[in-house]
């Protein structure tokens, strides 16, 4: 199945990509998707978005699925056509 992944902030700058469609296996979880992205983009993504024990380690990085936070964390199952946003929020004022 295919899902749409959109990048914002530092992730976008590092990958020089705004969005793309990613092919993942049926029943894949958010964790599977992030692992795949880390596999595709290597350390440039891993150091920004390290996946820990079922959760994202850095609270500045936020993942939404169709606009909502993934309520089951990294184990949230994805569906074909889902839109996943990877973003980091910044604190300066």
């Amino acid at each position: 199945m295919r899902v749409k992944v959109r990048y914002f902030g530092v992730i976008r700058a590092r990958l020089s990509r705004r969005e793309e469609e990613i092919e993942i296996k049926e029943g894949a979880t958010l964790s599977d998707l992030l692992d795949k992205l880390i596999g595709m983009y290597g350390e440039s993504l891993k150091e920004l978005f390290e996946v820990g024990k079922g959760e994202i380690l850095d609270p500045s990085f936020i993942v939404t699925i169709n606009g909502a936070l993934a309520r089951r964390g990294m184990e949230t199952r994805l569906k074909g056509g889902d839109s996943i946003a990877l973003m980091n929020i910044i604190c300066g004022g």
């Binding site: 606009g67 604190c91 004022g93």
Partner: protein, 262 residues
């Protein structure tokens, strides 16, 4: 807006002339300008965001602006905290900002508070406000402001900046997600954020647009949307953000909480 919602104040001849160009905007008009005059906006943090936000709120004719900041200007603030001149280094930010606002628009009432953002004190301040504008540079303060705005049911216009980038969203408790829905865990604080002065100026302008829209009642605010601005790429793109029904801050509020997500 305030007690005068049903009977907004009249505009003087001088005010009609001062605000002529924005009264000409069909969705503002005389009625919108009167609403701005009777509105009360709190600006929390008078830094890179708060300086341009407060002066544009004053220029737009917001009747009462409350400025909150306990800091004083340093030389390293002057690339972005645009209300301060060289001679203002060492002065309280709220006093300098008040002086500039009064120079621009003596009709605006300005309250200044040199306090730490603290739950009890802040809740009372928020209670009197129509809109709260985020000029803070730390998450601790933002989450307190967010909680107070949710408890008092007041709009909170969040923005954050770094480098040439920023994000902005408008929180209307019960209608869209609060800051805690979007950011469930406290991000690390950053002591010194690199920033070009034009970045907070841009985000602050958007905060003022959101404020004017909310006060006068037109347009589509950034509720349920986080707008990301990337000055390097010169892209402006918003992403949908939904309420978290389990949010510890706003989860129990009535409203459009049907967006349960995944």
């Amino acid at each position: 807006m305030g007690d005068e919602e049903t009977n907004p104040p009249v505009l003087s001849r001088s005010e009609l002339e001062r605000y002529n160009r924005q009264i000409l905007i069909p969705n503002i008009g005389f009625q919108g300008q009167r609403r701005l005059k009777s509105s009360r906006v709190v600006v929390v943090g008078v830094g890179g965001l708060g300086c341009p936000a407060s002066i544009y709120l004053a220029a737009a004719g917001v009747g009462m602006i409350t400025l909150i900041d306990k800091g004083r200007f340093n030389l390293s603030d002057l690339n972005r905290q645009i209300l301060a001149g060289y001679d203002d280094i060492g002065r309280l930010k709220v006093e300098v900002a008040r002086d500039r606002i009064k120079e621009l628009n003596p009709d605006v009432e300005v309250k200044t508070l040199t306090i730490e953002v603290d739950r009890e004190a802040f809740r009372e301040i928020v209670r009197e406000a129509d809109v709260v504008v985020d000029g803070l540079d730390n998450w601790r303060g933002r989450f307190i402001v967010n909680e107070c705005c949710v408890m008092e049911g007041k709009p909170y216009i969040h923005a954050g900046v770094s480098g040439l980038s920023g994000q902005i969203t408008t929180i209307i408790p019960g209608e869209g997600p609060c800051l805690r829905c979007i950011i469930p865990r406290d991000p690390p604080e950053v002591d010194v954020v690199p920033v070009l002065g034009a970045t907070p100026a841009l985000l602050a302008s958007l905060q003022v647009m959101e404020t004017v829209k909310l006060v006068t009642g037109f347009g589509r605010p950034l509720v349920g949307r986080m707008l990301f601005i990337d000055g390097e790429d010169m892209s402006f793109e918003s992403v949908e953000v939904k309420r978290n029904p389990d949010c510890p801050v706003c989860g129990k509020l009535q409203g459009r909480a049907k967006d349960s997500g995944c």
